[in-house]
């Protein structure tokens, strides 16, 4: 039996858990990061890699901007840029209704100080001549960026480790209980942890830890169909997204085009499977060829997905448990956790060390599911195989 006494146990070695461990270590806390597999291998490592500011939930902008500031300093923070690239983001509309939508998103973004350019067809033709004619208007945000998700989480965890965090891989948490002020974390290895705080950052696997403490959320696992093409000369500099969600694409400087699209597909966290139905791959290929016609003859070489946790209002759970002092949840990022990841880690470290954070997190409280919640339009549109929701 290996018994560790720590200040904080972080459950889940994804992006959120790794950043939380990193910031806690920088504040001098003793942290154990426990991962059932290897760090950064689930949705943290398989997502599209968008650091998108446009079109986010309005209440998330303070967190999101804080996170972007961290991303922009990534190399200073962890000594590795992980292919961070301020590519800009082009949000595309196919018709007038969609144009109204992106203009509305832009108003929100601008109210938080983000500079948005509104481009009509003629301007698009000049700036991005490779765009298909189907795109009638777009908004462009230069501060939006991308990074390589396969590299980021392992890199953050590595630095956290060098700062003193005990990183334990291939170790599944079996039991978490609290007696007095102390949490006891039992695992399927000989590791046992006693600590004052527990961070539940177990992604699509997080619900069981919340439910142990009498809290729940209608979390379900799903993943987007994604693919990558063979490399060819670099010409698509910004990441390109259509407002209907059919195309989210970017080209990396080495030449490959990466695509994620909707609708998402239900995934199986028990068997660890995130299927990509071939028909979705074909549909996404066709959509991409319409948005960037020059890609028509290029080859798709690989598809993949990941297991992400989704909630019906398309907002994550971030914040303190409402039943158990010392327990903090951060899960259910609904496919947009990559951009806010470092911000969430920073906020959680502040909650644990300072008792509070300046960044407003109330929209993300787990208690919101005690009432009837409004099912997001996005949620209705972006899934085809959805488990029963409350």
């Amino acid at each position: 039996m290996t018994r560790l006494i720590a200040d904080v146990a972080v459950l889940g070695g994804g992006l959120i858990g790794s950043w939380t461990a990193y910031f806690l270590a920088r504040r001098g806390k003793r942290v154990v990061l426990i991962e059932k597999g290897v760090v950064g291998a689930q949705s943290s490592g398989t997502n599209f890699g968008n650091l998108r500011l446009q079109g986010r939930f309005p209440g998330q902008y303070p967190l999101s901007l804080r996170a972007q500031d961290l991303w922009e300093r990534l190399e200073d923070l962890i000594g590795d840029s992980c292919e961070f690239d301020a590519t800009g983001h082009l949000y595309c509309a196919f018709d007038e209704a969609e144009r109204d939508k992106i203009d509305h998103y832009a108003e929100v973004s601008e109210s938080y100080g983000i500079r948005i350019e509104h481009l009509d067809r003629a301007q698009l033709k000049r700036r991005f001549p490779w765009l298909g004619r189907k795109v009638i208007a777009a908004t462009y945000s230069a501060r939006d960026a991308t990074a390589n998700p396969r590299l980021v989480t392992p890199a953050v965890a590595r630095v956290a480790k060098s700062l003193g965090v005990t990183v334990v891989e291939h170790c599944a948490v079996r039991e978490v209980r609290k007696s007095g002020d102390t949490f006891h974390v039992d695992t399927d290895t000989d590791l046992q942890v006693e600590c004052g705080h527990v961070v539940n950052a177990a992604g699509a696997w997080a619900l069981e830890f919340a439910e142990r403490f009498g809290e729940t959320a209608p979390l379900f696992p799903a993943g987007p169909p994604q693919f990558v093409t063979e490399p060819f000369p670099y010409f698509i500099t910004p990441s390109v997204q259509t407002v209907d969600g059919s195309v989210i694409a970017r080209q990396i400087p080495r030449g490959n085009v990466i695509l994620a699209g909707y609708p998402r597909t239900a995934a199986d966290p028990i068997l660890n499977r995130a299927p990509v139905p071939p028909v979705k791959t074909l549909a996404a290929m066709e959509c991409l060829a319409e948005v960037v016609p020059a890609l028509r003859s290029c080859h798709v070489i690989r598809v993949w997905s990941g297991i992400e946790g989704y909630l019906p209002d398309m907002l994550p759970v971030i914040g303190q448990s409402e039943t158990t002092p010392g327990l903090i949840h951060a899960f259910g990022f609904c496919g947009h956790g990559f951009q806010i990841g470092p911000g969430v880690g920073l906020c959680l470290s502040e909650i644990i060390v300072d008792g509070h954070t300046e960044t407003p997190l109330s929209p993300f409280a787990i208690g919101r599911f005690q009432q009837e919640i409004e099912v997001s339009d996005k949620f209705k549109r972006e899934f085809d195989a959805v488990r029963k929701t409350p």
Binding site: A157, R158, S162, P278, L282, M285, E286, A289, H299
Partner: protein, 455 residues
């Protein structure tokens, strides 16, 4: 009537289709190639005059018999050449052709998808002019082209001498045949190889024909490097006496035997098991080729057995389909086929001792050698990624961190060497290093195939 689909138009697929056609099942035969025959019995492209009798030598009769067998069932099957099966979902195949993507459903599926070369990298192996050994033969049979005028045949494979001889017969200059397995190992394997005396004698005749022609035949060599500025100019080897030798050439054919093309089998749900003899992960089958419900595997796509085993196992798999569909066929024939397939595949396992996969070479590779040619990932990059804190020690994680195996070929070329490198560098058994998981598309498909679907 049951819908039986055969994938692959080589000896296994054709014999399976023949057996099904004979029982009036009108099978669908999907073949990625434009002409049937697979790799070994490939018919030349129309309009190309090739002396197939000279090219096929002692195998010419089998070549003609197989092509004739196909011709005789041509109107009793639904034959679809130029058709790539790129994904499998339940009982539906997703296929891509020049016309676009469509689906083919099946009640029973026989996969006879063949094999490809196994490659161990060496310095210079990505230079233009280096071909896989099988690629060198395909270029000759399909297009009537040599890979070069002065060709070195290198590696260790029963096909090494055969390909060299084919090149010689058609007028290429074979500068050397460099086999990395010592002659002693072949002699030691001889008692087991004698189980198939005809095949063994054929192998020996290839060797003696080449020697008579004065081709330098080296055994037990170490391939040191391929040199050239912008393309192949020479191969440098260390011979069995330790002397360094240089053979000027403009092309190198490189191969270490074959590895099953088992991607579709895995997508279709076959269980993959580690095989210690070949050091590869192979689909699990029963004695008739059943790999799961409605799934049958035949030929070299399961385990390397050669063309004769492919023909027999194709018919055997088709007979298993018949049995499972409750269709009467001669069971005594099936028993004979089962024995024959077993014997031929056992013979191939003995061959693996006479033509050795150089697993140990991987640890001697210098850091600057490219392991993954699609993504240009070097041996050193992989070692460094593994050495860092929290570094990966499993091939799929190594792929995620380094991109090795992420490119056009999806690890079909670099996969075996990657497994060896990860195992040797981590100091773990190769089966613990895992295997690259397969994902659709099993081969690249252009965006334009999707367009046609919607029209």
């Amino acid at each position: 009537m049951s819908n039986v689909v055969v994938v692959g138009g080589g000896p296994a697929g054709i014999r399976a289709a023949c057996m099904l056609a004979a029982h009036r099942l009108r099978p669908v035969l999907l073949d990625e190639a434009r002409n049937v025959g697979g790799q070994g019995y490939r018919a030349p492209s129309p309009g190309l005059r090739l002396d197939m009798d000279a090219l096929m030598g002692g195998e010419a009769a089998k070549y003609h018999a197989l092509q004739a067998a196909f011709a005789s069932i041509r109107d009793q099957i639904e034959y679809r050449p130029g058709t790539l099966v790129w994904a499998i979902e339940g009982k539906t195949l997703h296929v891509a052709t020049d016309e676009g993507s469509s689906t083919v459903s099946f009640d029973a599926l026989i996969l006879a998808t063949g094999a490809m070369d196994r490659i161990m990298p060496l310095p210079g192996w990505t230079l233009p002019g280096v071909f896989a050994l099988g690629g060198a033969q395909v270029s000759l049979k399909d297009q009537g082209c040599f890979i070069g005028r002065r060709v070195a045949f290198c590696g260790s494979s029963p096909l090494l001498n055969l390909a060299a001889l084919q090149y010689r017969k058609l007028g290429a200059d074979v500068v050397a045949v460099c086999d990395t397995t010592p002659l002693g190992a072949k002699v030691r394997a001889a008692p087991q190889l004698a189980a198939a005396p005809r095949t063994m004698m054929r192998g020996i005749s290839y060797l003696t024909s080449l020697m008579r022609a004065g081709t330098p035949m080296l055994h037990g060599v170490t391939l040191l490097r391929i040199e050239g500025k912008s393309r192949v100019e020479a191969i440098i080897v260390r011979d069995c006496r330790g002397r360094e030798r240089r053979f000027a050439c403009d092309a190198v054919a490189l191969g270490y035997g074959l590895k099953p093309e088992a991607q579709l089998a895995e997508l279709a749900g076959a269980e993959m098991r580690f095989d210690a003899t070949s050091r590869l992960w192979l689909p699990k089958i029963d004695a008739d080729g059943r790999a799961g419900r409605s799934l049958y595997l035949a030929g070299d796509s399961v385990v390397i057995g050669g063309a004769d085993a492919a023909e027999a196992s194709g018919e055997l798999a088709a007979r298993a389909v018949l049995s499972d569909l409750g269709i009467v066929h001669a069971r005594s024939v099936a028993r004979g086929l089962r024995r024959r397939v077993f014997r031929l595949r056992r013979f191939q396992r003995a061959l693996a001792r006479a033509f050795v996969w150089p697993a140990n070479r991987v640890k001697d590779l210098s850091d600057d050698v490219a392991l993954c040619r699609c993504e240009n990932v070097s041996v050193g990059e992989i070692r460094r990624a593994m050495d860092q804190a929290l570094g990966p020690i499993e091939v799929n994680r190594v792929k995620a961190i380094t991109r090795c195996g992420m490119g056009r070929c999806q690890g079909r070329v670099c996969g075996p060497a990657l497994q060896e490198l990860v195992a040797s560098h981590a100091g773990i058994p190769i089966e613990a290093a895992g295997r690259l998981r397969v994902q659709a598309p099993v081969k690249p498909i252009p965006l334009s195939v999707a367009r046609t679907l919607a029209e």
